[in-house]
């Protein structure tokens, strides 16, 4: 069994670790770092519940070996809240009732964050396309779309 040394940043904090080569980023975050906000749904890249940000871009953590992200900056759902204040996307999901059981929500929120970082004012169809890789069994998606639109609305009012 081969161990790989890692040196990376997770939610702004430096992390030094040793992992089995076969450990996925998802399992590393959940099991070794105790960051269980990142969920395991299908474990083969289809459902999107494992989505995190790697160097700011959305990634399927179940389809990455921890070894592949040595030296990278990882953002998980835990990293979005600062000092107890919800990130604007999280706040909008709350206000628009864009979640029920919450299992898909970390992946949805991070995918939305990645989308808005690149396209601050997406159309409804662009939002739908960007989120089409995240599956939800509870909500029927309407309020999820509204939550993302609410973020855009609020930013446009503020800006």
């Amino acid at each position: 069994m081969q161990l790989v040394r890692l040196s990376l940043k997770v939610n702004g904090q430096p992390v030094e670790a040793e992992v089995e080569a076969r450990t996925t980023l998802a399992d590393f975050l959940r099991e070794q770092l105790g960051l269980t906000g990142t969920k395991l749904g299908c474990e083969h890249g289809v459902c999107g519940s494992c989505t995190v940000l790697v160097d700011g871009a959305a990634a399927r953590s179940c389809l990455l070996l921890a070894a592949q992200v040595d030296g990278c900056e990882i953002t998980t759902i835990e990293g979005l809240t600062s000092n107890g204040t919800l990130h604007p996307v999280q706040q909008a999901f709350w206000e628009a009732h864009g979640l029920q059981c919450g299992f898909c929500t970390p992946g949805m929120v991070l995918t939305a964050v990645a989308l808005l970082n690149e396209h601050p004012a997406p159309s409804e169809s662009e939002i739908r396309e960007a989120l089409s890789g995240n599956l939800c069994r509870c909500t029927g998606y309407q309020n999820i779309i509204r939550a993302v639109q609410l973020v855009v609305e609020k930013q446009q009012r503020a800006g």
């Binding site: 080569a21 076969r22 474990e43 890249g45 871009a57 959305a58 990455l64 890789g133």
Partner: protein, 291 residues
């Protein structure tokens, strides 16, 4: 499920990678983006002894224009393929094909070389390369050699690459200005693998007839194929709706190794082929300039 145990090496260079492949043969697998390899490991459909991570090799990335060709490094990320200014300007077909692959998170890591070497019959890039008459550059113990796209794909997940070889570059001839293109597919959900799809590249004469056309089929066959009979039926013809429809119907004859699985039977996929071919022909005709 979790991947089985394997050893992992971060490749220091292309030469280092080739040494490891030569040493381990089929027991070693190159890891570029891992978006196809990781699911296979998780489902335990692949059990390599060692993974060689080539994802950070500058030697294998990069998009260059030279001699009327676009040359893409094998590890160029799919996201980069869709955004690279040279590709956007010269190969909008490739940009459109990229948008049909999975979802943004997949495209942030998946690579063009990885997709081609993986050779999923339902993937978009292989058919695009076959339609564009691209050439692949492979390197291995015997040195560097080239394989045409049409000779590269042998069957499902099977290519002409030896286990000790690596796909390093993809050479794509620049389409002539005014070339039309179309890519259409039917999938159950946006981003899913195609049940059937078609890629068309088409040049029109000044009179509006078909001067040159390439039609490649996705998903209905064990490997992407050119619809030769359909292409021949269109040569020199005016590109009216009935002509396109008749040619599209001939595309089914190209299916020599039909694909059939739980997602779609061979019969269903072959019903879709003329439909997607016609749509792609229509789109390519509309985009082609009269020249």
């Amino acid at each position: 499920m979790k991947p089985p145990p394997f050893a992992y090496e971060q490749a220091g260079s292309l030469a280092h990678t080739l040494n490891l492949l030569a040493q381990h043969g089929s027991e070693a697998r190159p890891l570029a983006g891992g978006q196809s390899l990781l699911p296979m490991l998780a489902l335990r459909l692949a059990r390599p002894t060692i993974l060689v991570d080539i994802g950070r090799l500058d030697e294998l990335s990069g998009v260059n224009r030279s001699n009327g060709e676009l040359v893409l490094g094998a590890t160029v990320r799919q996201r980069q393929v869709a955004q690279n200014p040279e590709i956007v300007q010269v190969l909008p077909l490739l940009v459109a094909a990229t948008r049909l692959i999975g979802h943004p998170a997949i495209r942030n890591w998946g690579t063009i070389g990885g997709s081609l070497a993986h050779a999923d019959p339902a993937a978009e890039y292989p058919a695009v390369m076959v339609a564009l008459d691209a050439t692949f550059v492979a390197q291995g113990p015997k040195g560097e050699h080239e394989i045409s796209a049409r000779d590269f794909f042998l069957g499902p997940f099977t290519t002409a690459l030896e286990d000790t070889e690596l796909l390093t570059r993809i050479r794509i001839p620049r389409p002539r200005p005014g070339t039309g293109w179309g890519i259409e597919e039917v999938a159950r959900r946006h981003g899913d693998f195609a049940l059937a799809g078609a890629v068309v590249v088409l040049e029109r004469s000044v009179e509006g007839t078909c001067r040159r056309v390439a039609i490649a089929v996705i998903g209905a066959n064990a490997r992407p194929v050119r619809a030769m009979e359909a292409e021949q039926a269109l040569a020199g013809q005016p590109l009216t709706a009935p002509v396109l429809r008749e040619a599209a119907a001939l595309a089914v004859k190209a299916i020599d190794d039909p694909l059939s699985d739980v997602h779609g039977s061979a019969t269903y996929r072959q019903r879709l082929v003329p439909v997607v071919v016609q749509r792609a022909l229509q789109a390519a005709t509309e985009r082609a300039a009269l020249a």
